[in-house]
């Protein structure tokens, strides 16, 4: 393992620690939006898809598979954030007074 890889491994572990720390007590009300938002975030794989399909020296296989991945990743991102936003919009409806229930 070279040192760049070791750095990446470190980053990986630290990000996992952050992920664990980040979520502790979340009101049930927000479970679905939270799931939906993190779901949108892993659409970041789109970045990987763009790099994979766009790099030099690809052939037809890479192009087809890669473009499918780009479409998939974009659906994940756009749909994910959009639907999360719609969910959260619904909570705004009505006369919710500040912090109560949840």
């Amino acid at each position: 393992m070279n040192s760049e890889l070791l750095g990446e491994l470190t980053i990986f572990i630290l990000a996992i620690v952050i992920g664990f720390e980040l979520i502790s007590r979340v009101p049930t009300l927000l479970h679905t939006p939270l799931m939906s938002a993190t779901n949108a975030i892993h659409g970041i794989v789109l970045v990987g898809a763009i790099i994979a399909v766009g790099a030099e020296g690809g052939n037809a296989f890479i192009r087809i598979v890669g473009l499918i991945a780009v479409v998939f990743g974009t659906i994940n991102i756009v749909g994910g954030f959009w639907v999360t936003n719609r969910m959260l919009d619904m909570f705004r409806a009505g006369n919710r007074p500040r912090r109560k229930q949840g």
């Binding site: 794989v45 990987g48 974009t74 994910g80």
Partner: protein
């Protein structure tokens, strides 16, 4: 990767972190989602600008197609169908991660790109495995929630053995590939297929009631798969964001499963299904105390001071929330003490009932969580259960029976003096478990009606009687 790209990626990752952070509280959740989306835009634009993309037009078209599909789907979906929508979006994400991993492997093997050794190969294979499981599992979850196919808990013989064999096969092939054995591309192809199959087989035996938890778990998996592809591409933003989702998704899954009272192990390996409890046969035989809307109105008006409403999925289906609010305020204006009991999983997504009643302008002060309201039922005169079954089913507490809801905490409405059900028939709810309370002729009144019509009649009755 130059400095500016790296910094932009780091900013995007931090925006994801702060976004998730703000999603922990209702007051800041919206801004959290916006922050995360903003981070995503930064990450994608940075990628488009700082990598030399050989086929930009194609990529743009692909992005445009994906964006339109995602936006239309997200905009069109009914509120009640959002869980399956999340499953679908998660599935395509997992698919994308698997495909990226395949491309990277193909580049190394076939096009002789520089390989970085066993570690990278391992991450690629993990990306394929996890991504495919997530994709296939999500498809099944979607189909179950959408009532397309394989609904309910489908069990087949030897499923544990089959899964184990598949998994060991994947492991064996992976070792072959990592060790530089023969036919690497073919091996990866088989791993791809076997992982898809594994994803299907893992989710098929799980009942629809547990799907939200399964989707959350698959969500964490997709995150992990994205992180794996980050190693192959040596891209920090992928690694950070992916592992962030992987870890927070895991915790979220545990939170959900504990709030639903369903331990994760039981969901995945339990495969409850075997003893299907949908035994329609004897239902019709047992007598129930069926009443009309006027009887309900009279009972509420003249024979109850403290009333609790329990909304369920049926209320959402019938869109009767405004009528429930109207009934409540009418009763209140007659001096009665009216509350709403919200079960954490009433409806089809967490928070479903809160949203529904907020639409009907019910004040949040009147909504009570399960833990808070459960001690009040013994002092309650009448409970009005509208379009709910599982969340008030005392069978969940019955330790002698193993049903899909056993162990789930429920609203103990049977402790009230009187229980009034408003639903169309005696058919059970989502989990398919019959409710013994229906047949308690002493305590229970059944108003067989569509929630909208039924509540309308009761409101009229209460106002006029």
């Amino acid at each position: 990767m130059d400095g500016i790209t790296a910094v932009a990626y780091l900013i995007a990752a931090l925006l994801f972190i702060f976004g998730i952070r703000r999603l922990r509280s209702p007051d800041t959740a919206r801004s959290g989602n916006t922050l995360s989306a903003f981070g995503m835009i930064i990450a994608v634009i940075t990628t488009l600008l700082s990598f030399e993309i050989v086929n930009p037009i194609e990529v743009f078209i692909a992005i445009a197609i994906g964006a339109v599909i995602g936006a239309v789907a997200a905009q069109r979906v009914q509120m009640t169908d959002m869980p399956q929508m999340v499953a679908a979006f998660n599935g395509v994400g997992g698919g994308a991660a698997a495909l990226v991993a395949v491309i990277e492997f193909y580049r190394i093997q076939e096009l002789g790109a520089e390989s970085e050794g066993a570690f990278i190969t391992t991450t690629i294979l993990l990306g394929v495995l996890i991504g495919c499981v997530s994709f296939a599992g999500s498809v099944i979850a979607f189909s179950k929630l959408q009532d397309l196919f394989l609904t309910g808990s489908v069990s087949f013989p030897l499923q544990t053995v089959v899964n184990a064999v598949l998994f060991l096969g994947v492991v064996a092939l992976s070792i072959n590939v990592i060790a530089g054995g023969p036919a690497p591309l073919l091996s990866v192809g088989i791993i791809f297929g076997a992982s898809l199959l594994l994803g299907i087989l893992l989710v098929v035996p799980i009942g629809g009631a547990d799907m939200p938890i399964v989707i959350s778990l698959l969500n964490a998996c997709t995150g992990l798969a994205a992180a794996m592809s980050g190693f192959a591409l040596s891209n920090d933003v992928l690694i950070i964001s992916g592992s962030l989702v992987g870890a927070s998704g895991t915790i979220l899954t545990r939170l959900m499963s504990s709030s639903l009272g369903r331990p994760l192990g039981k969901i995945i390996f339990g495969a409850v299904g075997a003893t299907s409890s949908k035994s329609k046969g004897d239902e019709e035989e047992k007598p129930v105390h069926s009443v009309g809307a006027d009887d309900v109105a009279a009972a509420l008006k003249y024979d109850a001071d403290k009333i609790i409403f329990v909304p369920g999925y049926g209320l959402a289906v019938a869109q009767a929330q405004n009528l429930m609010a109207e009934l409540a305020s009418t009763l209140e204006s007659q001096g009665k003490d009216v509350k709403f009991a919200i079960h954490p999983v009433a409806g089809r997504m967490p928070g479903h009932m809160n949203v529904l009643l907020a639409e009907a302008d019910v004040s949040y002060d009147k909504l009570y969580d399960m833990e808070d309201i459960n001690k009040e039922f013994p002092e309650t005169d009448a409970v009005v259960v509208v379009g709910a079954n599982d969340v008030v089913n005392p069978a969940a507490n019955d330790k002698t029976q193993d049903s899909p809801i056993s162990g789930m905490p429920v609203l103990n409405v049977e402790e009230a003096r009187q229980v009034i059900f408003v639903k169309r028939s005696l058919s059970p709810g989502f989990a398919g478990v019959d409710n013994p309370l229906f047949y308690d002729e002493e305590k229970t009144m059944m108003l067989f009606a569509d929630a909208k019509q039924g509540l309308q009649d009761v409101v009229a009755g209460v106002k006029n009687a």
